[in-house]
């Protein structure tokens, strides 16, 4: 008996120890970033290093809020990610409905096409996009960003929504068809209202992808009026390489929408993350 209890205590201690190491590994960099944003620049590299700021200051945040150029980065990011999310959702809902309720020629081909789209290197697409965007005279516009972002938001959204619609019983929309309604009515009146959890998951994940995009935003826009948050941070890094507290404050503000979405819609968020890899 004594041996047995000893055997179960040791694994428990080791488990807690492992979790503690994991906690430091996963969260320390983030906590350090957050507290650095509340320090003065001289205090950031103070020796010995201190986690909590000695002179707590919101100066870095105030500088950002008082600079219209930096505020504009945020407005641009919210606008572009918002529009991309709406457009992606509408198109993905239509496609997912087609996929989950009908069988048709080329269905499998189209499915493979959509899955393989996930893995096409952005850098490969970037060069022809640059050529196209210049040729269509939409270089340095919101349109160029919104349009090109769809290439990687759409495949995920379609896979996620199709997966979700496949879980809904066919009797649900067939009832509308039997009553003489069209599939269009069935989709918007019956399927969409009951798919809200799936739509939220898709929206959250699409927003995340669009919010984080870097390469196309870097290359297809040029004027400060159109720069998004990731590019704004990069510019800040290049111009004021020593204003660490301001860069950390930018990073905190730039992560905020995703953190809030994650905490509010955690269940949906995880569905989005694992879509396509675990089951597709």
């Amino acid at each position: 008996m004594a041996k047995r209890s000893k055997n179960s205590i040791l694994p428990t201690i080791l488990t807690y120890l492992g979790l503690a190491v994991g906690l430091v590994f996963s969260s320390f960099p983030i906590v350090w970033m957050f507290f650095s944003s509340l320090k003065s620049n001289t205090e950031i590299f103070a020796l010995p290093p201190r986690l909590l700021p000695e002179d707590f200051t919101l100066a870095a945040y105030l500088t950002i809020f008082n600079d219209p150029v930096k505020v504009r980065f945020f407005i641009n990011s919210y606008f572009v990610a918002g529009v991309v999310t709406c457009l992606t959702l509408v198109i993905a809902i239509l496609t997912a409905y087609g996929f989950s309720r009908y069988s048709f020629r080329f269905k499998n081909t189209l499915n493979i096409f959509i899955i393989s789209t996930q893995t096409v290197p952005p850098i490969t697409l970037l060069i022809p996009y640059f050529g196209m965007v210049v040729a269509f005279r939409i270089f340095d516009t919101y349109l160029a960003l919104i349009l090109t972002y769809m290439v990687f938001t759409l495949p995920y959204a379609v896979l996620l929504m199709t997966g979700y619609l496949n879980t809904l019983p066919k009797e649900l929309d067939e009832a509308v068809l039997v009553d003489g309604g069209s599939s269009w009515t069935a989709l918007w009146r019956v399927i969409v209202p009951v798919s809200i959890p799936g739509i939220v998951a898709t929206a959250v994940y699409t927003f995340l992808l669009a919010w984080n995009e870097f390469l196309f935003a870097l290359t297809l826009t040029k004027s400060m009026d159109l720069r998004t948050v990731p590019i704004g941070i990069q510019l800040l890094m290049g111009q004021h390489a020593f204003e660490w507290n301001e860069m950390m404050a930018m990073s905190v503000l730039g992560s905020l929408p995703l953190l809030v979405l994650y905490l509010v819609a955690q269940r949906y968020f995880l569905a989005g993350m694992t879509a396509g890899s675990v089951k597709s």
């Binding site: 096409f113 060069i127 050529g131 995703l258």
Partner: protein, 312 residues
């Protein structure tokens, strides 16, 4: 005008038949109506650009010259002769393979830790939320966090010196010896949660009876892990590792924001090599050839990924 009853019925039947015929041919088109917007967009944004980049890669002076001439495979040969290209290939492979291996190890370890019932459920669910956090940060912010932490005067050096592990300030990102490892470490930190979340879902899907049966047969914990847990998780491990391999191979923002490929090409990866050819040197044809090479590698791994997904 008065119609006789049978004629009226016949007319109605006829009309209904016609409507039905029209309806059934139309109804065959319905699915295409639903999938056409996405198909159109993806053809415009995927197939067309891929044809274009292939065409550029066979030309001399694409985008820059109005009358760019056909150059055949010359651009590919030029790329293959460039030693920096081969250095980038090697560094990309080191970065990718190390990332995939450690993502898997850390992801699995955390998933196992979070899956035991030795720990209070509340603590488990809080840690579950916290362990995913690195995944929520965009590459630019990850780059900036690690530049702060790994700064010569930063906290990592201070701690390592206090523990007497190092005795001078290491310039993690600006030394040719350490930059690629520092970069790989930052990427490992940023990417394990995908594995953790997926493997945790996988662990919860394994039937308890399998473990009980193995216990009756006298298997110990290690044997249970090796002969039940790992085989049961294998399909998930393979799909995520393949996807992760493809995505990590294409990494751009993290490298661009930490080292920019330097110092002296020591962290140059295929995507930064290609980007510089196009947008620093304006060699769009050479860049297209390099981009085609990345595409071919990605697509060959994608082939295995799709095969694997369809077998499941």
């Amino acid at each position: 005008m008065v119609h006789s009853a049978p004629a009226l019925v016949a007319a109605q039947v006829n009309a209904r038949k016609k409507r039905w015929l029209r309806y059934s041919t139309l109804s065959k088109l319905v699915p295409y109506f639903y999938v056409s917007p996405a198909t159109f967009l993806l053809v415009l944004l995927m197939l067309f650009p891929m044809v274009m980049v292939f065409k550029y890669s066979l030309m001399d002076g694409a985008i820059m010259k109005k009358d760019a001439a056909f150059a055949g495979v010359q651009n590919y040969l030029t790329i293959f002769e460039n030693p920096v290209f081969w250095q980038s290939v090697g560094q990309t492979m080191y970065f990718t393979i190390m990332s995939v291996v450690f993502h898997f190890i850390i992801g699995l370890a955390f998933a196992l830790l979070l899956n035991t019932n030795r720990v209070d459920p509340l603590i488990r669910s809080i840690l579950r939320v916290l362990f995913i956090l690195p995944w929520l940060f965009t590459a630019v912010i990850i780059a900036i966090i690690w530049r702060l932490l790994l700064d010569p005067n930063g906290v990592v050096n201070s701690v390592l010196m206090a523990l007497h592990i190092i005795n001078f300030k290491v310039e993690w990102f600006s030394s040719t010896h350490t930059a690629i490892h520092a970069l790989t470490f930052a990427n490992i930190w940023a990417g394990y949660p995908l594995y953790m979340v997926s493997l945790l879902a996988g662990l919860q899907g394994i039937s308890k009876e399998l473990y009980e049966a193995a216990g009756i047969d006298g298997a110990n914990e290690l044997e249970k892990f090796w002969y039940i847990t790992i085989p049961q998780l294998m399909p998930i491990i393979i799909s995520i590792a393949l996807l992760d391999f493809i995505w990590t191979m294409q990494v751009f923002p993290l490298v661009w924001m930490t080292t920019g490929g330097g110092p002296i090409y020591s962290t140059e990866v295929l995507s930064t090599f290609t980007y510089k050819l196009a947008f620093s040197q304006y060699e769009f044809s050479l860049a297209s050839a390099s981009a085609m090479i990345i595409l071919i590698i990605s697509m060959s791994v994608t082939y295995f990924y799709i095969k694997h997904q369809q077998r499941r």
